[in-house]
């Protein structure tokens, strides 16, 4: 299955991955509308970390044995049978935060207002190719089959 590899040695901390991830998960997919508040601006589904000269971004690892799926009380988190990708059904999620309690990478964030998780990477299922990888200028994010 597809897997995004994060190479911290190549990350230059530009955070373009975050910006493109945010835009890709909106209605208009228009960067100006999203950042000027003319479209909803969801939280990025990628987690950027920075300390001194080190930085990297990380998204859902789509674990083979996924704690989050196992712990999900609603069935909102599930595995796509064809691709193996861990996906999330927003309609089912009630915000019980079990996945947040158990994700060892800390890449699922809560949206406390909406009472739903807000940052589940879907490998850009609607884009065909992960936009974070596509827009990384230094190949710090690469995809492997």
């Amino acid at each position: 299955m597809k897997k995004i590899i994060s190479k911290e040695e190549y990350c230059i901390g530009c955070r373009l991955c975050e910006i493109h991830c945010t835009v890709a998960h909106t209605k208009t997919k228009n960067i100006l509308k999203v950042f000027k508040g003319k479209d909803t601006k969801p939280l990025p589904k990628i987690k950027f970390e920075e300390k001194g000269f080190i930085s990297f971004s990380l998204q859902c690892r789509h674990c083979e044995e996924a704690n989050c799926i196992e712990a999900c009380i609603t069935g909102a988190l599930y595995r796509d049978e064809k691709t193996g990708t861990v996906l999330w059904d927003e309609n089912k999620c009630v915000g019980c935060w079990m996945c947040i309690m158990l994700c060892p990478f800390g890449v699922i964030e809560p949206d406390l207002q909406k009472k739903k998780i807000s940052s589940k990477c879907d490998l850009c299922i609607n884009e065909g190719f992960p936009v974070c990888v596509k827009n990384c200028p230094n190949e710090a994010l690469v995809i492997e089959e």
């Binding site: 970390e49 712990a71 309690m101 800390g106």
Partner: protein, 416 residues
């Protein structure tokens, strides 16, 4: 080969998934005394509060059993295990043979043996049928005041739903605070204050001595501390015990629950147990899920053991989220405790360290990245190198030692 599973919650359905990963053909029979299939017990409070509809309480697709070729026997109770002839006796006197048996009978609410307990208007809160009974009673009896006895997770989830229905709730708890088994005093106090602000009454350090009735309905509570409380309805939530009725007069070893090893095997060959009925007991959904999965794998001969598990909980009350895991109130003095507390913002973070390992934590208000701390507990990671960063607001994988982080992120063998 014939597999028989008794019970139908997450341990059972996960075992089915494991079995079917390797064995697509042999018969699986599932016996459940309930009418509903694959519904999520933790969601019943959301159902009572009308935050979800009945359709959404199913955590699996409706064709799950069909797709996995499971023969369902519903609304029938397994009453006896006949180990010598490898069969199960049902309450309608039919017998079901098995080659491998998995017990996922769950837990049963503990009912205090007090005067008046058998009257109308007293309910448990663990099943979908409890929600139906509660809704019916509220409607038919114009219920305004509800007493919740016990302030553990179940009691508080019930409280939250009842407050949502605009009912007046009184919590009665024997210990000195709510959620006493998972939270410390400071954490409990944050929730107690919020609940009181939302009109909930909390009475601690006492319990019910007698239920006073009128026309065979609850009317008043008489407490051990001498006070009396008028009430229209009572929810009993003082705890759950493993449901082991079925194995009591058999050779299957029990203590509080059915004793199992790390492969979920009982002492009897070909009999397994998983979920809230099994011991060691940590009666929470993720543990039952993992145990069911592992039991299923071992049933079909995949040699798998359960991971290190610690008690953990995610509770949101009055809009304040909390996650806690491990030992949150240590009584040994060799523990180091890191604390961050902001009363105004209702943010609390407490990390308990022993021998350079995290053994427990509480996060209230801000639960972001809690899973990293859970992983540090379950994988027993030495935190000495990055201890100073544990309380940082933006604590993350970046604070972990580089080699460990890379191994964690990319997996063994493909480190970059």
């Amino acid at each position: 080969m014939k597999y028989v599973i008794i019970g139908n919650s997450i341990a059972a359905t996960n075992a089915i998934k494991s079995i079917r990963e390797f064995d697509k053909e042999n018969k699986i029979i599932l016996i459940s005394d309930e009418e509903y299939i694959n519904y999520s017990r933790p969601l019943i409070s959301y159902l009572l509060a009308k935050k979800i509809t009945k359709e959404k309480i199913n955590y699996l697709s409706t064709d799950f059993y069909e797709k996995n070729k499971v023969d369902l026997i519903l609304k029938k109770k397994a009453v006896k295990i006949l180990i010598n002839e490898k069969s199960i006796l049902l309450n309608d006197n039919t017998k079901i043979n098995y080659d491998k048996l998995l017990l996922t009978t769950g837990g049963t609410p503990i009912i205090p043996q007090i005067k008046g307990i058998n009257t109308n208007g007293i309910f448990n809160f663990t099943k979908i049928s409890d929600v139906e009974k509660i809704e019916k009673y509220i409607k038919e009896n114009n219920v305004k005041k509800v007493s919740v006895i016990g302030a553990g997770l179940i009691g508080l989830k019930a409280t939250e739903a009842l407050l949502e229905l605009k009912l007046k709730v009184t919590i009665i708890e024997l210990s000195d605070r709510i959620l006493a088994s998972t939270l410390d005093k400071k954490a409990s106090a944050i929730f107690e204050n919020e609940l009181r602000k939302n009109g909930c009454e909390i009475i601690t350090n006492t319990t019910v001595k007698e239920i006073i009735t009128e026309n065979n309905k609850v009317k008043e509570l008489s407490l051990i501390n001498g006070t009396r409380k008028k009430t229209d309805m009572i929810i009993i939530a003082i705890g759950v015990k493993p449901n082991i009725e079925l194995v009591k007069e058999t050779e299957i070893k029990i203590n509080r629950g059915i004793l199992v090893n790390s492969k979920m095997e009982t002492n009897i060959e070909n009999i397994y147990a998983a979920g809230d009925c099994a011991e060691p007991t940590i009666a929470i959904w993720p543990v039952a899920a993992q145990q069911g999965k592992i039991a299923g794998y071992n049933i079909i001969g995949q040699n798998r053991e359960i991971k290190n598990i610690v008690p953990m909980n995610s509770v949101e009350l009055c809009g304040i989220p909390s996650i806690s895991a491990g030992n949150t109130v240590p009584n040994n003095s060799d523990c180091e405790i890191l604390v961050l507390y902001n009363e105004e913002k209702k943010i609390y973070k407490k990390i308990i360290i022993q021998n350079n390992r995290i053994i427990g934590f509480i996060m209230i208000g801000n639960i972001s990245r809690a899973g990293i701390y859970t992983m540090l507990i379950t994988d027993k990671i030495n935190i000495n190198e990055f201890k100073d960063s544990l309380l940082n607001e933006n604590f993350g994988l970046i604070n972990l030692p580089k080699e460990f982080r890379k191994h964690l992120v990319t997996g063994a063998g493909i480190e970059v």
